[in-house]
Structures are given as structure tokens and as C-alpha cells.
């Protein structure tokens, strides 16, 4: 390697002569961003285009300009409106339960004296599973004839109907499947926050006679609240993204009991082949997820992590 101190100086400073030079950082960044634009901006513009057309798939794809038809239809469509409400209910129930249980589990694991690492590893297992397998396994466990959980609920007399075939229990069951898979993620994130709580402050509070709940309230909660919000937003974004569990278990049924908005979107597109209308619904979902992403980035900024 030829060491030239001059080269070091040059590479660090903006060149003052000649035309604009592209820095190495930009050479590394720009081609990849261009590719990402192809992957994301192009489909994004395309879905906007689709939303102003009636898209037909019969005998090749054809577009008929439809103006605002799809959009006005969406805002007056009661089935879509109900799917939005159900989606928001599903979203609040899953994320809410995951948050409460995840924080509880994190507090529990944090207090363990021995076997902490093993317990943590075992508790994390569900979140590595393909959601579609979680759904299929859920179907197996709740099967009226051969399912372990159905058998248990039946024998103890808690619930004796067809779990996924009854509207109220079906919605609860798919919520619990999601909660089962993703509570460990919240636990993991909150646990990282708990480990970062200043031990000296905790000890000082203990010496001053503060009990567990008092320490939790006055020392731990203020220290981890930021991380809990991060956990909440990360989980929220994925809860909006995925629909695999419902897709494979009830696919919206029985009736419309579990028909959340992504399921309605998918069937509008690929069962009724009403792709233009589905595009408008998709853009509505996209707007919702961008709102959540905005909140996430705002939090990151406040924590000084995104500049």
C-alpha cells in the first residue's frame, strides 16, 4: 500500500477545482436507491394509476379510465367500511394484548435468578415461525374432532362449539394466534429496556426504602417508556402489514366475522378481479401505514437515532 499523506487530505476535503465530483458515499448510495425506486416508487405510481381505472383481467389485462369512480365507491361501500372497523378492532386487540402481556413477561424474565437465558430463548421461539404455519397449527389445535385445545375446552366445559366456525370465538381465536406469535417480540424489546435501567439509581431507591412497585413506577417506567413506544410502533407496523394468519384459518369468515381490511382487499382483487377498486382500497391502507411510520420516525428523531 502506497501511503501518501496528500491523498488522505484530498479524500477528506471537497475538491475546489474542476466540476462537481461525486463522493464515494454517494457512489455507494445512489445506485441502490435507484434500484429501490424501481422496486417501490414504480409500483406505487402504478397502483395510483390503477385506482383511476376499471381493470379487467379477462382476455389479457385492459384498463378503462374510470375517473374517481373507485374512490367515491370506496367511501360509500359499507362492506369496506365494516372491514376497516373490524381491522382497527383486530389491530387494537392484538397490539394491546401483546403490549400488556409482553411487558408482563419482560418484568418476569428480568427478575429471574437462574435459567434466564434458557427461558428467554424458549419464549422467543414462536416469533420465528412462518405466520401461515401458526395459522395452520391454530386450525389443528382448534379442530373440533382432533384438536388439543378444542378437546381441552370441551372436556372442561368452557367452550363446546366449533371454535373457528362460530363468529365470536373465531375472531378471538385469530387474535390469540397473533398474540401468541408476537408477544415474545414485545417482551424482547422491553427486556432490552429493562436491562438498560441504571442500576445505581435502582439501588439508591432500594436503600431509601422504595418497594418493588414504587421502584417500578418512579425509576423503571420513566427509563423504559421510550422503548415501550418503539416496541408498540414496530409491532403496529407489522400488524398492519401481515394478514397470513386470518388468510389461512378463516379467510374472513364465518360470515364476515374476521374480514379485516387486507382480507377484503385481497378478495376484491383476486376473487372478484376488481383490481382498480382494490387499488383504491390498497392506497387507503398505505396512507394508514404511512401515518404510523411517521410516528415511528418522529420517535427515532427524538431519541436522536435518525438524523
Amino acid at each position: 500500500m502506497a501511503a501518501t499523506p496528500a491523498a488522505e487530505n484530498q479524500s477528506r476535503r471537497q475538491p475546489k477545482n474542476g466540476g462537481p465530483r461525486i463522493s464515494l458515499e454517494m457512489k455507494m448510495l445512489l445506485p441502490v436507491l435507484f434500484l429501490l425506486a424501481l422496486l417501490s416508487l414504480f409500483p406505487f405510481l402504478y397502483i395510483i394509476f390503477m385506482s383511476f381505472n376499471t381493470v379487467s383481467m379477462i382476455g389479457g389485462i385492459s384498463f378503462d379510465f374510470a375517473g374517481l369512480d373507485n374512490w367515491t365507491r370506496m367511501f360509500t361501500d359499507e362492506v369496506v367500511g365494516a372491514a376497516w372497523l373490524r381491522g382497527i378492532l383486530y389491530f387494537l386487540a392484538t397490539v394491546g394484548l401483546e403490549l400488556v402481556l409482553g411487558i408482563g413477561m419482560a418484568l418476569l424474565v428480568h427478575e429471574l435468578v437462574w435459567g434466564k437465558n434458557l427461558a428467554l430463548s424458549l419464549l422467543l421461539l414462536p416469533m420465528f415461525m412462518a405466520p401461515v404455519i401458526v395459522g395452520l397449527l391454530g386450525r389443528f389445535l382448534t379442530d373440533g374432532t382432533y384438536g388439543l385445545y378444542a378437546w381441552f375446552l370441551n372436556t372442561t366445559g368452557v367452550f363446546q362449539q366449533d371454535i373457528l366456525g362460530t363468529p365470536s370465538s373465531a375472531l378471538l381465536a385469530v387474535i390469540l394466534m397473533d398474540v401468541w406469535e408476537w408477544t415474545p417480540l414485545i417482551m424482547l424489546i422491553v427486556l432490552a429496556g429493562l436491562s438498560s435501567v441504571d442500576q445505581a439509581t435502582l439501588e439508591a431507591a432500594k436503600v431509601d426504602g422504595a418497594g418493588y412497585w414504587q421502584r417500578l413506577r418512579h425509576v423503571v417506567v420513566p427509563a423504559v417508556s421510550g422503548i415501550v413506544v418503539v416496541a408498540l410502533l414496530i409491532r403496529s407496523m407489522d400488524a398492519i402489514r401481515y394478514f397470513d394468519v386470518i388468510f389461512i384459518t378463516t379467510n374472513g369468515g364465518p360470515g364476515n366475522a374476521t374480514k379485516i381490511i387486507p382480507i377484503r382487499l385481497y378478495e376484491t382483487a383476486f376473487r372478484f378481479f376488481d383490481l382498480g377498486y382494490a387499488a383504491a382500497i390498497g392506497l387507503g391502507m398505505l396512507a394508514f401505514s404511512i401515518l404510523v411510520a411517521n410516528a415511528f420516525v418522529a420517535i427515532l428523531k427524538r431519541r436522536g437515532l435518525a438524523r
Binding site: 502506497a2 436507491l33 422496486l39 420465528f128 405466520p131 432490552a192 402489514r241 392506497l283 401505514s289
Partner: protein, 277 residues
């Protein structure tokens, strides 16, 4: 009052709760793996059986009656190739982003992250039409592209976070010793970030290996992945819980192993760099 007794009592309660939580978490997984080794007769018993003679019946049937090796190969190719592309490009762009400062940088960052968060159902729609025009339906290449729509922004963002953690002094020291800027990246920044790179790769692999929605829409007989094969077992007339448990076990076990292998770095990876341990 005996302090150590109280502490011991508290620990006993804690471990009691832990057992309940572990049961809640592990029983379904345990039951799936157990069922995959049960003979059909034991499986279809109306009272659940825990003690039985293990049998490989369902695994053998899976490999004999379906193109399981083909599905495994399709899954590995689609997930593997998209992971490699995402991680290589993610390292380059993530480093570039972390070491540059330009106007509107936060807009670019926001665009990257919002790409990762776009609802899958909404992304599938335009891709389906575009893939149909481009002849990419039922190809592994199509799945690789589909998986890049979430793996690439994820890898850029998370590698940016890992590189941003690295003090620039390290690279500056190398450059004082005569290394070029690229050499400083290649020989200093990259090796130091190795755990982050491995974590990113594993998470990309898990996300794409576990995908169902994209594959069920885009893949056909030539590119069908494992999760699709699992779902199809379930929609055939006779629900074959034994084979389903076997294929479920095959899908989830490798991801649990690689996922736990990077447990220390999972928090940083899964929170997109917002939380670091």
C-alpha cells in the same frame, strides 16, 4: 421477619408463573412436533395421546407423494438469493447513507423505511400486473424481486443504523495510515460490523422464508415454496394433520435455530436499530 425466606418465596412465585407462560408458549410447538411423529391411528385418537410409538410415516409420505425436495429448493433459492442481494446492497447503501450528509437526507430515510412498512396486500396488487406483463409470474426470479421489496429497504435501514454506531475515528485512523476511503470501508468498517451483517442476513432470510402472501399470489407449479405446500395439504379434501405437522416442523425448525443464533443482536435488528443492547 426473615429476608432470605421472603426472597425465596418471591422466586418460587416467579418460577410458578414462568412455568405457566412457558406452557402457553411451548405447548403448540411441542404438540406439532409430537404429532409429526405419531402414527395416523394415534393421531386420530379422540383423546389426545402423549405416549406413543414414534413413527416416521408422515415424513416418508411427504417426500414420497409430493415434490418436497423441489419446494425446499424453491424456498431456499427465493429466500437465499433475495437475502444475498439485499445484504450486499444494504451494506453499500447503508454505509453511504450513514457517512454522508446532504439536504433532505431525512426524507430519503423516511422513504426507505416507509417502503419496508407498506402493507403486503397493497404491494402485491401492482406487482401482480407488472409481473404478468414481464412474464415473472411462476418464476423464482419474480419471488426474489417480490422479497427484495421488503428485504432491501430493511437491509439499507438496519445497516445504516449499525454503521452509524461505528465511530468514524476508526476509519479515519486507517486513512491516516494510507488506506483509501473504500479500503477503510472494506477492511475496517465491514469486519467490525460483522455481527450486524450476519443478523441482517438472518432476519432477511427469516422474513422471506416465512412469506406466504407473495408466494401464494405469484408462485405456480415451477416456483412453489414450502409454506404454499403446507397450505395446500390443508385445503385438500381430507385434512392430513400428520403431514401438516411434519411439513410445519420442517418449515419452522431451521428458522428457530438461525434466529436464536443471533439472539444477542435481535433487538437491534427487529427494532430497525431504534433499541440497542
Amino acid at each position: 421477619m426473615n429476608g432470605s425466606n421472603a426472597a425465596r418465596g418471591k422466586q418460587a412465585v416467579l418460577y410458578g408463573i414462568l412455568v405457566l407462560v412457558l406452557l402457553w408458549t411451548l405447548v403448540p410447538i411441542f404438540w406439532m412436533v409430537l404429532s409429526s411423529f405419531k402414527s395416523s391411528a394415534d393421531l386420530l385418537s379422540t383423546t389426545p395421546k402423549v405416549i406413543f410409538t414414534p413413527s416416521l410415516e408422515h415424513y416418508i409420505a411427504l417426500f414420497a407423494t409430493s415434490n418436497l425436495w423441489g419446494y425446499i429448493q424453491n424456498s431456499l433459492l427465493a429466500a437465499g438469493i433475495s437475502t444475498v442481494i439485499a445484504v450486499v446492497l444494504g451494506c453499500l447503501a447503508g454505509y453511504g447513507l450513514s457517512r454522508s450528509d446532504f439536504r433532505g437526507k431525512h426524507h430519503v430515510a423516511f422513504w426507505i423505511i416507509s417502503t419496508r412498512m407498506a402493507p403486503i396486500a397493497a404491494v402485491i396488487l401492482p406487482l401482480f400486473i407488472l409481473f404478468r406483463y414481464a412474464g415473472l409470474l411462476d418464476t423464482t426470479a419474480g419471488l426474489v424481486i417480490a422479497y427484495l421489496t421488503f428485504n432491501l429497504p430493511f437491509a439499507i435501514w438496519i445497516m445504516n443504523a449499525f454503521f452509524a454506531d461505528l465511530p468514524p475515528a476508526l476509519e479515519q485512523a486507517a486513512m491516516v495510515d494510507g488506506a483509501t476511503k473504500f479500503q477503510a470501508f472494506w477492511r475496517v468498517a465491514l469486519p467490525v460490523t460483522a455481527p450486524g451483517i450476519v443478523t441482517t442476513a438472518i432476519l432477511c432470510l427469516v422474513f422471506s422464508w416465512n412469506d406466504y402472501a407473495f408466494a401464494v399470489t405469484f408462485a405456480g407449479p415451477d416456483s412453489q415454496t414450502l409454506p404454499i405446500a403446507a397450505a395446500q395439504l390443508n385445503t385438500q379434501t381430507g385434512l392430513n394433520w400428520g403431514q401438516l405437522s411434519a411439513i410445519g416442523t420442517i418449515v419452522v425448525l431451521p428458522m428457530m435455530v438461525v434466529g436464536l443464533a443471533v439472539r444477542r443482536y435481535l433487538v437491534a435488528g427487529l427494532t430497525l436499530g431504534a433499541v440497542k443492547e
